[in-house]
Symmetry: C2
Subunit: 314 residues, 2 copies
């Protein structure tokens, strides 16, 4: 059985017209860095769970993506991050919401899964689990970047003026995630986010909700990005698994249909999904979705909008 | 189309041998009070959403059930409540987690649904939504009851001594919930809980997770109670809807099979579910589940363990 990995850096992409060549290349390189990190685990015989951890950590460490370092800010000027991870073979899962502390929130989610009997921990309780697990912490200044602070200030000025919301998708939502299949055929998924710029403090989206933004079992692994509330109400990730299991759809069919239906319900965004075939599906209904996968020839394929994939050697 | 309502007061029941006749009767009467509150809404032409709100408020107000007044305590001696509500016709949903303040947490969940663009709010942010919505607040002393404090102290002593966990289900988990169908055929579900006695502060179970502990769409409404973590990993409520939608199972079949399968995965508990037939399903795999419904003749039927339903006039 062949190994496979796909990642996303969020459906919140900068408008193509606003991206310089250097900005574009930096984003492709960020995606490739994450693919390499995850693929190296799989190629070394590692588990899908470790591969998605590694890929999401790489995206969290990259300030260009809305998770970890470079997470967006709440309306209170704070940073509140959410993350989840799930292991398909035994459906173990861990998630955290509303935290600022662990350098890699996805590792805090994993600590919840591996060191507690719980699935979801929030706030100070989640920080306690991360501390007990010996995770590396960082001060709020590590997560905050000048770009995200400026985006919040623009948004607060806009709200105060009553002007219409003309933000690009990049300011409205963004998430990072990974799905992988290892040589044993096991699937895993992980997702991490800072949420939406100017979100109300205390708001939790679909990312840390098992069956909404993150899910893995023995038929598919899914990580979502987009208008979190709609993804929660439609239990998007669980819905894809259910269609594969009970309607006999392929993962690609189910993922594509669900993303198309979401568009009719105000659910902008997309997702990455992986099943038994090992060929990832990366559908989105927004203007773009930072995304990538390693193809059957072992090449790194990455894309941002609807252009053809950039193909680069590992 | 006929109106219908079912409720549960948690799968965490006191052992039959430990229940005096007076204790038993108090619990039946608590269930009947909640059924009357919800049924009155439906009989008056009200919406399923209002009926489940009313029924869950009645159970939250009753100190015998683990939600609102009489919620269990965390290992830190605090009370952290979770609640969710969902309207099937348009899949609007609201939920809160980790809160102590609003007298009726289910109304805070409803305020999230009705006054914000969000689905899930936690901690201080959730309290802000409740305050802005004008909800009645109560001090921590309102929620705490001597019985719950004593249960926590017993549990902390047990943990310190390393003795095995011989708690009854009542000390381990408990939740309240309601599902209803109104005269227009619309479904709704609501769930509310204090969690588990001695739970780690910051732990969130399945109750406020749409698709896990609470869910409603146009084919079914579901409210769960039990080992929350397992219910989350198996996206129990969404799974029942998926089986009805894609496997052609009845709500009763799907609910019964899922509860039986959960037992094999360490998922103790049960759920109430209601679909197009209007006949509620109330399966559980634990020793008991406080539960009740209004039957086709308009009689109040309530039960605790596996005895025959008590039948009382409205």
């Amino acid at each position: 059985m062949s190994i496979s990995i796909a990642i996303h850096g969020g459906a919140g992409t900068v408008r193509a017209a606003d991206l310089t060549e250097a900005m574009t290349e930096a984003r492709h390189e960020g995606l490739r860095r994450a693919l390499r990190a995850g693929f190296a685990v799989l190629a070394g015989g590692g588990a899908a769970l470790d591969a998605v951890s590694a890929a999401v950590c790489a995206l969290e460490d990259d300030p260009l993506f809305n998770a970890g370092h470079g997470a967006v800010m709440t309306d209170a000027g704070t940073i509140e991050m959410d993350a989840a991870i799930m292991n398909g073979a035994d459906r173990r899962a861990g998630a955290v919401a509303g935290i600022c502390g662990p350098r890699n929130p996805v590792l805090a989610a994993r600590a919840v899964m591996e060191t507690t009997p719980h699935v979801l921990m929030i706030g100070a309780g989640a920080l306690g689990v991360a501390r007990d697990a010996g995770l590396v912490f960082a001060p709020p200044s590590y997560f905050e970047t000048p770009n995200r602070r400026a985006a919040l200030e623009r948004e607060l000025v806009r709200r105060a003026s009553g002007a219409p919301d003309t933000r690009s998708d990049a300011d409205r939502h963004g998430t990072v995630g990974a799905v992988a299949r290892d040589a044993a055929g096991h699937l895993a998924a992980a997702t991490s986010t800072g949420g939406m710029t100017g979100k109300r403090a205390g708001r939790v989206g679909d990312t840390p909700i098992i069956g909404a933004g993150t899910y893995a079992d023995d038929v598919c692994a899914v990580s979502c990005t987009g208008t979190g509330e709609v993804f929660m109400r439609y239990t998007v990730a669980a819905e894809i698994a259910a269609r594969v299991r009970y309607k006999g759809e392929t993962v690609a069919q189910a993922a594509g249909e669900v993303v198309a239906e979401l568009a009719t319900q105000g659910g902008d965004g997309g997702l990455i999904a992986l099943g038994a075939s090992g060929v990832p599906a990366l559908p989105f209904n927004s203007s773009g979705m930072y995304r990538g996968y390693v193809d059957a020839e072992g090449m790194l394929r990455t894309a941002i909008h609807r252009e053809v994939f950039h193909i680069v050697n590992r």
